[in-house]
Each structure stands twice: as structure tokens, then as C-alpha cells.
Symmetry: C4
Subunit: 270 residues, 4 copies
């Protein structure tokens, strides 16, 4: 009986968690379609002309998808060898969070829009595509970002300091009469300007304000070069590191340059 049990559990695991068999692949494709449709349902519900007319049908669709995803979540818990480990993994938490909001709507109206969090489940799409290649590409990007995290922290710190100072200065120059009602509003303007978004809901009216704004824009121009430079040089370096697949025959460590003939850690010939 225990063996039998582990038999269907193994099969279930293959279907739900792997994408190599036809059944597993079909399950994954069906899941992606369900996720896409369920997110579309939530988005459509927010459009008044559609939401009012098809309220009932959309609600039923929502509950159906929630039941489906709840069933799928339960199956995952059953199929996996260590349910707690799965439930605590980031994918497991996303799976749980993607179910919760519908039950919430029984108490809190409007909570169904949190269901758009289901879009995160689309991460599973990388399993259908050739997983490893895309993951390695995503890995290059994230490792480039991680390697530059200190530079990014220094950069963000400088930007926030600038935003507070520019915000206070602009508040004193333009003042509430020109729409800069308080320093937070003025800081919001500083961010809108530094990032070159420029909504135009707030813009300087006095000559002095326009002069300061011009300086801020040119500064933003220079500043935008910094994160780009950081990420680019990390990506270029990551590409360089990516060439060094060779591991030392003596100590087994990797990370050698392409032109290296000796291990840089133990000196053995490569």
C-alpha cells in the first residue's frame, strides 16, 4: 500500500512538477492558459462597461479559477516529498497568495483586484521554454545587479539626498501658490524631473524656479548615465567571466581566464 501510494505520488509529481513528459508539458500549458485567463478576468472586471454587465459571469469565473488553483495547490502539497519546504519556497508562497484574495472578497469588497498577483505565477512559463537557458540569462542579469548592489545603494543614497535638498529649495522658490504645496509634493516633482518622466502636473513658473529646474534636468541627464554605466560594465564583466568554464584538474576551482595556462589558485597546469 505504501509502495502503491508512492507510485501515484511519483506520477503526480512528474505531471505537476516536471515538464519533460507529454503529460507534464500538457499540464504546464493548461496551467499557463488558466493563469492568463484568470488575470484577464480580473482586469476585465475593473472595466465599468464590462464589469457591470457581466458581473455575475465574471464572479463565477473568478470563483472557479480559485477552486481550480486551490485544488492544484493541494495536489502540489500531496505530491511533493517535503510539503513544508515547498510551502515556504517563493514559488509556494506565490501559489498560496494567488488563491487568498477571492476568499477575502467575502469580507472586503474590492479585494479581488489583488488577484492580479496571479500574474506572478506566469514565472512557470520558463519551465515550458527551455528552462536552463533562460534561467542562465536571467541569472546573468540578476547576478550583474547583485554584483553592483553597493554601487546602486551609494547611487540611490545620493539620489534621495538630492531629492530632499532640491525639494526643499524648490518649495521655498516656487511655494504653494504655484502648486508646490509642501515639501513632499516638491520632492515628488524633483523625482518626476530627475528621472526625466516629466508629467507636467507640476512645473516651475518663476524665472528662478525655471533656472533651478534646468540645472536639475541637466543633472538628471548626467545621473541617468550612472546606473546604465554600472549595469553595462557588470554585464560586460559577467560576459567575460562567463568564458571561464574550465575547472582546475588539481584543485577543481573555476573562474580562470581564457588565456590562463596555470590554475590561479594552486598553480597546477590547466
Amino acid at each position: 500500500m505504501t509502495y502503491d501510494n508512492s507510485g501515484w505520488r511519483k506520477k503526480l509529481h512528474t505531471v505537476i512538477f516536471e515538464a519533460d513528459t507529454p503529460a507534464g508539458r500538457a499540464f504546464d500549458v493548461a496551467l499557463i492558459v488558466c493563469i492568463l485567463v484568470s488575470v484577464a478576468v480580473v482586469i476585465l472586471e475593473s472595466i465599468p462597461s464590462i464589469g457591470n454587465r457581466w458581473r455575475h459571469e465574471l464572479f463565477i469565473a473568478e470563483v472557479t479559477f480559485t477552486l481550480l488553483f486551490t485544488a492544484e495547490y493541494s495536489l502540489r502539497l500531496v505530491a511533493v516529498r517535503r510539503p513544508l519546504a515547498y510551502a515556504r519556497s517563493s514559488l509556494g508562497i506565490i501559489d498560496l497568495v494567488a488563491i487568498a484574495p477571492t476568499w477575502l472578497t467575502l469580507f472586503v469588497p474590492g479585494a479581488q483586484f489583488f488577484l492580479t498577483v496571479r500574474v506572478l505565477r506566469l514565472l512557470r512559463i520558463f519551465r515550458i521554454l527551455k528552462l536552463t537557458e533562460y534561467l542562465s540569462e536571467a541569472g546573468v542579469i540578476t547576478s550583474a545587479l547583485r554584483a553592483s548592489r553597493r554601487k546602486i545603494f551609494v547611487f540611490l543614497f545620493a539620489v534621495i539626498t538630492l531629492v530632499v535638498l532640491i525639494g526643499a529649495l524648490m518649495y521655498m522658490i516656487e511655494g504653494p501658490t504655484h502648486g508646490f504645496h509642501d515639501i513632499p509634493t516638491s520632492m515628488y516633482w524633483a523625482i518626476v524631473t530627475l528621472t526625466t518622466v516629466g508629467y507636467g502636473d507640476l512645473s516651475p513658473k518663476t524665472p528662478l524656479g525655471k533656472l533651478l529646474a534646468s540645472l536639475v534636468m541637466v543633472l538628471g541627464y548626467a545621473i541617468i548615465a550612472v546606473p546604465t554605466g554600472i549595469v553595462t560594465s557588470e554585464l560586460t564583466a559577467a560576459r567575460g567571466r562567463g568564458h571561464s568554464r574550465q575547472s582546475c584538474p588539481a584543485c577543481g576551482r573555476e573562474g580562470h581566464d581564457d588565456d590562463a595556462t596555470h590554475c590561479k589558485y594552486c598553480g597546477a597546469a590547466l
Copy 2:
């Protein structure tokens, strides 16, 4: 007779499809001018003050160009050895599509504006310029884009996920009363903000909305660095690859410049 036939067909082919002979070059220049004028005619027709006054003349010009391009398309079919292969090639399809809309206007008013698709025929301009050099430059750009297609897919996937989540969140924060009528509108705002376009037709009004918008802008600031970094590192790598194909016959080392005639390490002739 058959020989004669292949004689004028060969000549026609030389004139229409090649740009090395004076006649071929003249044909290409005339064609480019026709394309430019015909696109200008369509654009001018859309301007009310001009379109109403010269409606008749512009319509005649349009039909004339369509007849000309139809004749040219027929000649191309005749001149080429394998008409079907030409008709199915991307250039052949563009040539056909550039004729179609005028005939459509007999049934669908307004269809003539599709004629701007003729602008795609300007691709032929590269034949008049020194073709190969420009194509190789275009090739560097497109191959850099192709090499980074997986990174770009991961990037676009992340952006779309972000847009859905930010859109739903902003819809709940600001709501229809501040112009965020539904989630698609809110997602449109998220794209306008993340790409730093910032029309200002929609902008947050509540303090919480402004705070979220500020975070989105700084995020967009960071995100814009990623595609730039990807393309730049690909272009740099493409440049690197272009230089290091040849290895020295004497010492076997690589990394020589394209214009090198002697090995830079041992001095042997390459």
C-alpha cells in the same frame, strides 16, 4: 526566339534588380524618388487644408503611382528567373502590399492611408549606397539584438509582470475618481511612467499614489539601464569577435586586428 527572349529578360533583370550599371543605378534613383513623392502625396492628402483643395489632383497622383508600381511589380515578376520565389520574399511582399491599398479605396474610404506602407520600399536605398558596408553594419546591430533575444524576453516578461501589478495597485489607490478608470488604463499609466515618457494625461493625485509613482519612476530609472546594458555588451562583444578570428600560423596565438599582416607576438607573416 527563346534566346532573344532570355536576352531582353537578362537586360531587364540587370536594370531592375542590379545597381552596378548606369541604367540600373538610374532606375533605382528614379524608383526612390517615386516612392518618396508617393508617400509625400499620401501624407499631404491627410492635411485638411491641402487635402480638400487638391483632392482631385492628389487622387490622380495616387492612382498614377499605383499604376507605375503595378507595372514595375509585373516587370519584376517577368524579369526574375523564379517569380514565385521573388513574390514570396519579404521584398516581394512589400512591393505587393505597396500597391494594394489604392484598389481597396474603391470599396473602403480612408484605406489610402495604408499607402504609407510604401515607405518600407525605401529599404532599396541601401542598394544605391554601398550596399555591403551598410548591410554589415545593420547586420552587427541585428545580430547583437538576436544574440540578446533571450535576455530581452526575460526583460520584457519582467516589465509586463510589473505593469500588471503596478496597474492593479494604482487602480486601487487612485481609483476612477482620479482618472484611473479601470486596470487597463492604469496599466497604460504604468507603461507611460516606467518608460519615462510621462504624458501627464494621467497622474497620481493622492499622497499614497504619488509615493507609489515615485517608486515606479526610480524603478524605471534602474530598469532602463538593463536593455541598454544588454545591447551595449552585445555590441562590444560583436566588435571583439570581429577582430579575433585569425590565428598565427607560426605561434598559433589569436587576437590579431583585422588589418594585421604579421603576428603581433612572433612577427611571422599571417
Copy 3:
């Protein structure tokens, strides 16, 4: 007595100026919190609904923080061996400037908003974090900027020249009737457009103006590539330099990674 004196002075110095001891670390954390709260107080005071209601409490908080920072500044002067050198250092000047505005408000109303300058004191946060690592990252960025200062000067010179010429041209094309009241306003528009901020408070109305604006935008598109390129190539170069300081004692070749312990060419220990 002199010895005793130098004893508590040394202890004071350790607490105030260093972050290695528990007391020093606690002092630094408390200082950062004080700075953050004092800046928040100034920002909150500018919001009418809060500023009017809690005017009295906020004023007291402001004076309290000023007294605290004045006391701290005095202690720093006492604890440091060469008070004048500290007072003239950039950190010392920031510490002084962070106190001044409150005393000014006795004479000039509104001067308290200059207190946001206190945000600069947050620079001390790098002492609590692992100082050296962050400083070296900041050093890479600033040295990259310093190395490219001449390129940036040439670039800024070109931008300002462009802004004057485009501004005058646009003033003549659009004129005061379309909001381009004078050349400075028109130059402000040119900067808003070249930096791709695009508030939309000023935009061309005439066809000729729109044509010029389109050219300016495409130009801005190209121009934005220049500072990014400068900073990126400097950062990449800085990274390169960081790796190739050490030369092999056996074969004399350079280009070893920072973590290499053996020469990658001959295998000798570094």
C-alpha cells in the same frame, strides 16, 4: 590633570568619531535616527494641515534638535585634537550648517526649510555600514566621473551652445503668442526637450516649430548616448585597472585577478 583630561578626551573621541566600539556604534545609530527624525520634522512642518495644527510641537522639536546638534558639534570640537582642521573639513562645515538655520528663523521667517540640509549629515551612515567597501565603490564612481571631467566639460559646452541657438530659433519661430515669451523661456523649453523631460507646459504650435522640435528630440536622443557612453567606458576601464596591478615575480606578466594566488601564465606563487 592634563593626563586625566586627555583621558576623557580620548574616550569621547572614540565614542563620537569611531564606530568600532559598542558605545561608538550606539552613538552613531542614535545620531542617524536624530538626523532622520529632524529632517522629517522639517518636511512635516511644510504640510499645511500638519504644520498649522502642530506648529508649537514641531517648533519645540526643531529647537530641541538644534540644541542637541549644537551640543554635539561642541563636543566634537572639544574631542578632536585639531578643532580648526575639523571645523574646516567638509563634514565639519556640514555639521555647522545643519545648526545655523534655526537661529536664523528668529529673524527670517521660512528659513527653517533650509534645515533639510541636515540630510547631508546622513553621509555618516557609511560609517555604520562597512565603511571601506562602500567608500571604494563610491570612489570608483567619483573617480570615473573625475577621469571624464574634460569630456563632460566639452559635452556640457556643446549642450549649452545648442540650447542658446535652439532657444533663439524657437523664439523667432513660435514667438510670445504661443508661450515662448522670451529667449530664456525658450532656452528652458530647449532644455526640457533635449533632456527628454517634456513637461508639456510649453510645446510648439506651428508646423515649423513642430518640425524643429522633432529634430531637437532626435538630437537629444543621440546626445543622451554621449554621457552614458563616457561614464560606462570609464567604469569599464576602472574595473580593468582594478584587476591588473600585480605582476608575476617569476615571469613578470600582469593581468591577474584580485583573488589569484598563482600566476596564470607560469604557475609561480604571487
Copy 4:
């Protein structure tokens, strides 16, 4: 007499054209100040409140500067050995154009604003600064731009094609009722959006228009990466080339890599 003549001519040349002697340097500084003030006069004249009040004084200042610059231009013609070569050089043409508009104002009112072209004369500022270093930096930028001119042409060609197609499509989707009066206006919108300027004077109103606009923005996001990538990789390559100052002792050619031990053209040892 001829000798004497050539004596003062030589002195004049040294003062006007060179910046190494104290007199030459003083002349250059005075010239820069004159140019700055004369441009400021033109800009101030455009401000109604100033221009109306001081019309007379500003006009006198303008004429005075024109007389000064005319005198200077004449002196330059006299001092230089080959006046025609100077008059035809780009600096000579700028010097001439900087005088012309004032004489024009006798016939065409408003022509004085063309005087802002005098700002181009500020190029002479590079003579006062250490000329060669800045010129070499400017040279790096311009040679990077020149090296990538074909890539930039291909890029601009693609952008213009896109703008025509997007413009026509948006004109058909949104139409005159939503402000897209004709295809040129619609193309203007496409440029405003692709370059991420986003004035907001025109923005899509229909759902389909917003969808197309979103696609255009994401496209613009990707497109902006291309010129940045081109310029960056050129600058990085230019830096690489910049290291190879060494010329071959045998054939005298330059452009060798840092690690080259033999001339890559003739194979001689370096």
C-alpha cells in the same frame, strides 16, 4: 618698411591668434567676455519688461559690439598670412556670421535674435584652457561619432520609417477628433513618444490608441538602447586604440596593441 610692416603684423598675429603670450591671453579673455556679454544683451532684449524699458541702451550695446567684432574681424584678415584661407575656414565663417545680423536689422526687424549665433564664437574658449587636451577629448567623441556614422544612418533610417508607419496608423486609429489632425501631426506625436519626451499636448484617447501607444513606448525603450550601445562601444574601442601610441621602428606605423611585441604590419620587433 616692408620688414617693419611684417613686424607689427607678426605681433598682431601673436596677440590675436595665439594664447601663449600674456598679451594674447589677455586678448582672448577680453574676447570671451565680450562674446558672453553680447549674447546676454541679445537674450535680455527678448524679455519684454527689460527690452521695452532699455530698448535704446541695448541697441547701442548691440551696435557697439558689432563694431568691435567688425574691427576684430578686419584685424584678423590683416594679421593672417592668407586672409582667404581664414575667411573660408569654419572659424572665419562663424566670425563673419556673428557680425552680419545687426546690419540686417536695418531692413528686417527681429533679425537681431540671429545674433545668438555669436555663442558659437565661444569655441575660442578652448584656446584659453589647455587647448590640446580638450581638443583630444573632443576628438575622441567626434571620432567615435564618425566611426559609427553608418550605424547611426541605419538607425535613423529605421526610426524615420517607424515614425511614418506609426504616424499613419495612429492617424487612422485616433483621427482628427482626438487631436491627431493629420499625418504630420501624428508623426510629430510618434517622435515625441519614441524619444520618451512625452509633452502630453497630444495623447491617445481610445483604448486601441492607448494599446498602440504602449507598444510604441516599449519599442522606444528598446530603441534608445541602440544609439547608446553604439556610442559606448565606439568610445570603449577608442580608449583601447588610444593606448597604442607606440610606432614601429621599422615601418613607422602606429596602432599596435599594448601586448604586441612585433609590428603587426612588417613583423619587426617593437
